[in-house]
Amino acid sequence: MGDLLPALGRMGVFLARIIGAIRPSRMFFADTLHQLHVIGSRSVSIVAVGGAFVGLVLALQGYRTLTTFGASSSLGTLLGLTLYRELGPVLAAILFCGRAGSAMAAELGLMRATDQITALSMMAIDPVGKVVAPRFLAGVLSMPLLTMVFCAFAILGGYLQAVHVLGLDAGFFWGSLQDSIDLQQDFGQALVKSVAFGLVTSLIATHVGYHTPPTIEGTSRATTQAVVQGSLMVLCLDFLISALFY
């Protein structure tokens, strides 16, 4: 606890620095667009594959359990609620941490170790504005989109498993899914959570990467911290948001 509060304080100060460094310039827009491609687009495949397998296994396990109670027609409801309220945002964020968070931390750590951050500062260019803020912003913007990709592929996986493998009626599946999902309550919850997770995971990744010692060990530690701390914070924040707001 003694270390946690100062760490949170440093993180808050860093967030304020990032927000303060955001400038509406052509160069900043181009940098952010490039990072959206690197962080967002390149994470689509892992998120889509992950989502599909989660959908497959959810449908399989859910069907077995619901059949016991004669409620197999509610499989669409189970899949939709589980995915949009919890699993979609959480698992997409954890996959994001492993794929993009680690890359952000490693890149910034290596930039520190190879004098690139010092060189920017020597050229009177704010390194936070040039290399941190575009990555952070791209992370925050990518996360909701990746969550939607995850949920879409999970539902597709669930549909294939439930309808084409387990023999559930397609009408039951889509009907129960459509009836049970509320745009504001469920879809909105996924959106809010994904924005919060994107903010936290990107902040942790950029913070540990930017402040890591310029050594091989420092870069390695920053990469690990980005994944471990990011994933734990996602789980912790998920509980807080669910408990407080939904």
């Binding site: 490039h34 930039m111 190879t114 004098d115 060189a119 920017l120 050229m123 009177a124 260019i125 704010d126």
Partner: protein
């Protein structure tokens, strides 16, 4: 005792205001530089004359890079007065420091080329951030700077495709692109073969003379650097040991300077860590 020394520093700082000196780009007056509570350099008084190439020499760990960090505003002096381009350091704000840094060109030991940008974009970066030049003018300026370091044909290459000497020359072109009045070179010869060393030193000399710069070359490569320098400053054992012309340095009979110039293991400059710490 320590209190007396500290008080002396403050008294010195109060009474010895550094007078604006147009003949010096950088002025140190009784400056003390410390890192993490350990004094690295003490009582440093030196001037970097305008229009000249000043070589700052000294063994590894003597505090040469610390001196550079003080000039670039990264490290605030513990006491004494430091002026760079007639501007007192430390600066009061980041904006003020960045304004000063726009007038300095710094070539770092590790070059610091951005690995996700091409050679052209690396050199263009300071212009894109600090000016609003139209693209054709910007491209022409970048081409001129790359041409000055002999790398106009390498504009499309990525930094990873360059040799050590080429990367250093690109970093030099980037440091020069805003036409700064002073250039600071941190170990510009480290990791280069003798031919590349000659090319880089020749460039430093030619650019200094043709662009009317004031240059400071921080290095421990004595033999290679002295023929290209107008002045030489030697740092060792926590302070300035010599400040004069290269010819005077070569002719010196001081045992400390001779040990450094001749590269002998025995002498006043300690080899083991303990003697380096305690001078």
């Amino acid at each position: 005792m320590a209190g007396d020394t500290l008080r002396d520093c403050f008294v010195t700082a109060a009474h010895h205001s550094v007078i604006a000196d147009p003949s010096s780009a950088v002025v140190f007056e009784k400056v003390r530089l410390a890192r993490g509570g350990r004094v690295v350099l003490d009582d440093v008084s030196l001037r970097m004359p305008t229009g000249m190439v000043t070589a700052v020499l000294g063994p590894s760990g003597a505090g040469k890079s610390t001196l550079l960090n003080a000039i670039t505003g990264e490290l605030a002096p513990a006491c004494g007065q430091l002026r760079v381009l007639d501007h007192a350091l430390p600066c009061h704000s980041n904006a003020e420091l960045f304004r000063l840094r726009r007038r300095m060109g710094v070539l770092l030991q590790g070059n610091g080329l951005l690995s996700d940008l091409s050679v052209f974009e690396n050199v263009a970066l300071p212009l894109r951030v600090h000016t609003r030049l139209p693209e054709p003018v910007l491209a022409e300026l970048v081409h001129l700077k790359l041409n000055a370091v002999g790398l106009a044909e390498a504009a499309h290459l990525a930094p990873q495709e360059l040799s050590g000497g080429m990367a250093r020359r690109v970093a030099l072109a980037r440091a020069l692109v805003l036409d700064p009045p002073i250039m600071l070179y941190d170990e510009p010869l480290t990791g280069l073969d003798p031919i590349a060393c000659g090319v880089v030193l020749d460039l430093i000399r030619r650019l200094n003379d043709s662009l009317g710069l004031s240059s400071m070359v921080i290095t421990h490569h004595v033999g290679e650097t002295l023929p290209y320098a107008d002045r030489a400053i030697v740092i060792a054992n926590g302070g300035v040991c010599f400040d004069g012309t290269p010819a005077e340095l070569q002719a010196s009979t001081d045992p400390l300077l001779r040990q450094f110039l001749d590269g002998t293991p025995d002498g006043p400059i300690g080899f083991d860590y303990r003697s380096q710490r305690h001078g």
